[in-house]
Every structure is written in structure tokens, then in C-alpha cells.
């Protein structure tokens, strides 16, 4: 046994080909939506804030139990249909109903420069980039210009909340600019 100073040695990290295991809950992965584009835009007509869902939303928000049940229902249905990660500030209406939070970089302003030649995700080459899918879906319904809006940064405090309740209560109004964002400098607004 040697005496003297104790050497603390750092061991090398995981091997270079390390990948998160399947079902890894914390890291986002691209997920293709199961709701066809046409149906998605039809559903949009009902989910858009209107007098009815605004009132339902206000009512549900007043009752903690109802709010929880409502949030669980949103989670279950949107997880299944879109791979929703419950960011609480839904971007689907302007992304061709392809969830941007499935992007490993959580990009909300369009694809990074690393998309593979066939449209493969840079990080998970066996999956298609959420923005390639989103652009295709939006364009197929004449909504390609939706993707030109500038999306403001995500508020990480809102993860886990119901985005429908936030949408109906008007708390989502600032999420993106109009698609004339190109003409004059778009305003960022103040964000914590």
C-alpha cells in the first residue's frame, strides 16, 4: 500500500457508440403523428378557442380535480397521436401537426442543418426529422407558410400543464409571430 497523496482518477466516459436505450423517458425522440394531416386540420376547427371551449376551459380550471382529469385525458390522447411530451405550450397548429418537442434539440423554428439526405434525423437516423414530416404535412394542406412564423423560446415552467387550457385561456397568444414576421423586425417581447 502506498502512502502519500490520494489520486482521484476520472475514468473514461461511455463508449463512442453509446445510445440512450429504447423508451428512454427524458430524451426527446422524433415521433411521426398518427393523425392524418387532413383530419388534423379538421380537428383544429373545433380545438381553436371559441366561446364554447373558452367557457369549458374556465370551468375546468376552477375545479382542481377536473383540471387534473382533463390534463390526463389530453396527455393520453396526444401522446398516442403525436408523441406529445406535454410542454404545455402546443405548437402543433403551425407545424403541420408534427410535434417539435420530439426533435432531440427541441427546435421550434424548423429543422437544423443536420438532416440526412433522405430526411433522416441527425441524432436518430432511423427516424424522420419532425420538421421534414411537418413540412410535408403542412404543405399537403396548403399550410406551408405556417412554418415561416417565428417561434418564441419555450417556457420550461409549463411542462406538464394542459396546453388546451392554456390555449383557450389566451396564455398561448404570444407563442409565435404572424407570418409577416419577415417584413418589419418582429418583436420578441419579455420572457423569463
Amino acid at each position: 500500500m502506498s502512502s502519500g497523496p490520494v489520486h482521484v482518477e476520472l475514468l473514461p466516459g461511455p463508449p463512442a457508440d453509446w445510445q440512450p436505450g429504447p423508451g428512454e423517458p427524458r430524451l426527446p425522440r422524433p415521433t411521426e403523428p398518427r393523425l392524418a394531416p387532413r383530419s388534423a386540420y379538421v380537428v383544429q376547427r373545433f380545438v381553436k378557442p371559441n366561446w364554447l371551449n373558452r367557457r369549458v376551459g374556465a370551468l375546468v380550471e376552477r375545479l382542481p380535480l377536473a383540471r387534473r382529469a382533463f390534463t390526463v385525458a389530453e396527455r393520453k390522447s396526444k401522446e398516442d397521436l403525436f408523441g406529445c411530451r406535454m410542454c404545455g405550450q402546443c405548437a402543433l397548429p403551425v407545424t403541420g401537426y408534427s410535434c417539435p418537442m420530439g426533435c432531440p434539440k427541441e427546435l421550434r423554428n424548423g429543422p437544423c442543418g443536420g438532416v440526412g439526405p433522405g430526411g433522416a434525423c441527425e441524432v436518430y437516423p432511423d427516424r424522420r426529422c419532425v420538421w421534414v414530416v411537418g413540412y410535408e404535412r403542412a404543405a399537403s394542406r396548403g399550410h406551408a407558410d405556417d412554418l415561416r412564423r417565428l417561434q418564441r423560446p419555450v417556457d420550461h415552467r409549463r411542462f406538464g400543464e394542459s396546453s388546451w387550457l392554456n390555449y383557450w385561456a389566451g396564455r398561448d397568444d404570444h407563442l409565435w409571430t404572424d407570418n409577416d414576421g419577415l417584413a418589419s423586425p418582429p418583436v420578441m417581447g419579455d420572457h423569463q
Binding site: V115, P117, E122, A139, L147, L150, P153, P185
Partner: protein, 319 residues
Amino acid sequence: MSALRDRLASGAFTITSELSPVRGGSAEAMKERARLLLGWVDAVNLTDNQGAHVRMSSWASAIAAREAGLEPIMQMTCRDRNRIALQSDLLGAASVGMTNLLFMTGDYPKFGDHPGAKPVFDLDSVTMLWTARKMRDEGKLLSGNELKPPPSGLFLGAVENPFAPPEEFRAARAAKKIAAGAQFMQTQYVFDVAAFERWVGALRDEGLTQRCSILAGVGVVRSLRALDFMSSGKVPGVSVPDFVQRRLRGVHPDSVGQEGAKLAAEVIAQVKAMPGVAGVHLLTAGYEKKVPELLEMAGIAGGRGPVEAPAPDVAAAGA
């Protein structure tokens, strides 16, 4: 103030180059590498842990490059820092007179030397550019808190890959960055000149090349091994079209580097003739010493050449 901005505003064909920071803790080593480019290019990009490999930080390398006499462009990625750290580093950079800042999302950690690192990606390239513009023009942080004083004279840059799917959306994506605040934009390797022309054309039609200077990315495929690597799909964002591969694989394996340089020189000549293209950005991939040769070959070295490094006190006044 930014000499790069002045150069671009003058309308002169501009040459920028990548300069990768060293893997080490010596400013002298960094300066030595920087001197290879002195006199040859108008500005250099100090990459920010490029390819998610740890290198000397881009701000420290940018200071070293400036001391060596070069005009630095400090790159910042959104991979390793959240909005707090990014804004604070931007203020720090501005405080030492770094005005050319270039923002990108960044390669995923899995491609680098610490593949188990936690990816941050709190902001993206668009929101980061937007934040920087807000800091400069409104004198406010993202939160709305006032800056006293705001960073002044910032010249904001971005990158784009015109060749990655969805190709029809790439000009729109560049347009988003320009709306957010980009004043100059460098692209990924241009091999497919026709595709690049379509992309620039779309920006030109919207009048965006007036608001943002476009620099076409050009690099030399230096060997068969380099070609195999670049076309393996393992380098994020880099793909070599089939017709280029056929051309490079068609020559004797020993002359691939020569052919690659010839190809790059041709690309430079072609993009130089395109309206709306302000210059080229040389993707050196660590081979800074080959830059002079490439510029000579492309016939754009006119008036450029090695210069003596400035005396240290002159460099310090460069801020």
C-alpha cells in the same frame, strides 16, 4: 467596430475562413495557427466546440486571433448553454470588443468526444439571434430587464444548410434567421452549385440578400479517406452529391486532393459570378495552411498575401 461589416458594406468580394481553436490551454498555440491565415482572409470564424469536441473556448480563441492580427467572428452554439449563460457570454464578448457574433444550434453531443453529455438546446439559432438583436437594439435582456449599457456595434451572423431536406423550406428558414436579426450568413459546403443558386435566388427574390450578406461555404476534399468520411453520413449536415463523388473517385487515388482543390476553385468562380453572393466562407477542417494555395488557384488571391504579425500593442488597440 466591425471591419467585417465595413468590408461587406463596401461590396468587395469577401473571404472568411474557419479557424478551429486548439485542444489545449495556450494562447500562443492558438496564435500560431491563426498566423497561417494572416493577410489571406478578411475574417475568421472561431468555432464553438465544433462537432461537440472540446476545444479552447471561442471567446478566448477569438481574443488570441485578434492579437495575431485577424478579424475574429466568435461562434456561439445553443448546445452547451442555456439562455442565462448565452446572454451573459454575449455581454462578456461585447465587453472586450468582440462584435462579430455568429449563432448556430450546434451538433448533438453524441457526435463528439463526450457523447454522454447533457444536451441543452434551451434556445435555438433563431431565438438566439432574436435575443441578441433585442439586446443590441432595445437594450434589454430576453427577460425585459434593462442593460446598462447595451452591447453596441454587434454584427450578427448565422449559418444555413441549403442542401438538407426539406430543401423547399431552406430559403424560408434562412429568411426566419434574417427576420430574427442575421446580417451575414455562411452556408454549408457548396458542391451542388445549381441547388445553391436556387436557394440564393429565392432569397434574392424576397430582397433578403440586400439585408443579409451571403457567404458560400467552400472546402477542399483532400483525399480519398476524407471523401469516404464526408460521404459516410457521419458528419452532421455534410453530404457529397453523387456527381462530385464520381468525379473525385474517377481520378488516381493520389491526385484526389488536387482534383478536390480544382473543384473548390471552380465552385468559388461560379458563386462569385452569382448576384446576391457577397463572398465565400472557407471550410478548412483544420487545414488552415492550404488556404493560400486554394485562393491562388481560384484566382481570388489578388493583393492578398502573408503579412508580418502586428506588434502586440497595436493588436490590443484593435478593440
